[in-house]
């Protein structure tokens, strides 16, 4: 039994270790993808063979507040040399925050062959493993993308409103200050904030980073995660859960934890999150 399997996850295959990546990084059926918050990080050094998927340029719609569409995803997959059978291994900075965000967007197009390298970029680097500045090039594939299907993993505001009315379970993964409404927006950055502070009624507050071990960025064991989400937030695996943060990126990390590590069947990420809810007229807010 591998160390990851020993942690008791529902889907241990959703994670790979740095050792596994070192052994399999040249396998033709896998594609390593680095997704970071820091735009300089990939170019300053990445795992040999890894391509970059950038959250602003590659995953977002260029004009609307939305994700890329079918054509954009097809182009992206072709560019990184991936097809429907390619297993994509995501990793990145900030405890894999942006890596899980990218994985979640890939799920919108039904690409389930996707895993996360436990511990992310910093674990790989701290273990003294090689990084390179050489940008790999893979033959473009003929990948045909399906239409984006938001229904299973993404929630829109009307769904959230019905969820609130039905007293559905929700997790707010922002900081306690944001959850309480004490902090309305980041200092000096009012345009990215919201007009009202607080949280969506009924949401429990489990900041996203509590799911990882601060020392090495690896995910906590299933038992520790159940302590957070089931003992503290009172979720059960059968619940229909909506997670949110400010724009849906931090909550994609929690979406990954609940669906992949704890095996919850119905979890949707509300990417409109607080920047939408906190600006909506007439919606209920709790402080």
């Amino acid at each position: 039994m591998s160390e990851i399997e020993s942690r008791g996850y529902a889907h241990p295959e959703a994670l790979v270790s740095t050792d596994w990546v070192a052994e399999h990084q040249k396998d033709p059926g896998i594609r390593l993808v680095e997704s970071n918050e820091d735009p300089l990080l990939y170019s300053s050094g990445h795992i040999p063979g890894a391509v970059e998927v950038d959250w602003t340029r590659d995953l977002n719609h260029p004009v609307q507040r939305d994700y890329l569409g079918r054509e954009g995803f097809e182009k992206l997959m072709r560019r990184i040399g991936a097809d429907k059978d390619t297993t994509v291994i995501f990793y990145g900075d900030r405890n894999n925050w942006w890596a899980t965000y990218a994985l979640w967007v890939f799920r919108l197009f039904g690409h389930d062959k996707a895993k996360v390298m436990d511990g992310g970029r910093i674990k790989w680097a701290k273990e003294g493993r090689p990084l390179t500045k050489e940008v790999p090039s893979y033959p473009e594939t003929q990948y045909r993308a399906p239409e984006r299907d938001d229904a299973k993993v993404r929630a829109y505001r009307d769904t959230v409103l019905k969820h609130v009315e039905g007293k559905g379970k929700m997790i707010d993964v922002r900081s306690p200050q944001e959850y309480s409404g004490e902090r309305l927006h980041m200092p000096e950055y009012p345009n990215e904030g919201a007009l009202r502070g607080g949280h969506i009624p009924g949401a429990a507050n489990i900041p996203w980073a509590r799911a990882v071990n601060p020392d090495d960025g690896t995910f906590k064991t299933a038992e520790e995660l159940r302590g957070l989400y089931e003992n503290e937030a009172k979720l059960t695996p059968k619940d229909d859960v909506i997670v949110y943060c400010r724009i849906g990126e931090r909550s994609s990390h929690t979406w990954f934890v609940l669906t992949q590590l704890l095996g919850y069947k119905q979890v949707r990420n509300y990417d409109g999150s607080w920047t939408e809810w906190g600006n909506l007229v007439g919606v209920p807010i709790e402080k």
């Binding site: 820091d38 300089l40 170019s43 300053s44 000096e188």
Partner: protein
């Protein structure tokens, strides 16, 4: 309103000429690789929390050194090994603002980070970088207040 320090203006102008994103990123990485942390005669670990940049994931620290001519020199430490952008910004600020008239340093607004890094910064990243500039600006304002007493 005081003008911006000349070296900073030159740096921003030079970066604005780099329209290709990959080229700009490489330019900034080259700068980051020139990063030297605060000399031990100015500060040693453990660094004081008073010098820690708030909201900065790269765990950056800002230190000032008062020069005989009344100007300030700025020094930095970046504890997170992944803090490449923070190191690039530290090199720019140290080189462009050290020795500049404090009035001009006090006039440097945090949003210059967008002129340096471009618009594609996440909120968290821009917050940390702007806080670095904000701390330098605050030190210059403090120096001006003390001079005025």
């Amino acid at each position: 309103m005081a003008q911006l320090p000349e070296k900073l203006t030159q740096t921003i102008e030079a970066l604005s000429l780099v329209s290709d994103r990959a080229e700009r990123i490489q330019t900034l990485i080259d700068l980051a690789e020139r990063f030297h942390e605060v000399p031990p005669e100015i500060a040693r670990r453990p660094f004081s929390s008073l010098n820690e940049v708030p909201a900065c994931e790269s765990e950056a620290y800002v230190f000032k050194e008062r020069r005989p001519d009344g100007t300030l020199a700025f020094h930095f430490a970046v504890e997170n090994p992944q803090g490449v952008s923070a190191k690039a910004l530290a090199v720019i600020l140290e080189g462009a603002l050290s020795g500049a008239p404090p009035e001009q340093v006090a006039a440097v607004e945090p949003d210059i980070v967008y002129k340096i890094f471009g618009p594609e910064l996440s909120m968290g990243k821009s917050m940390g970088l702007m806080s670095m500039v904000g701390m330098v600006q605050a030190e210059a304002k403090k120096a001006l207040e003390q001079k005025g007493r």
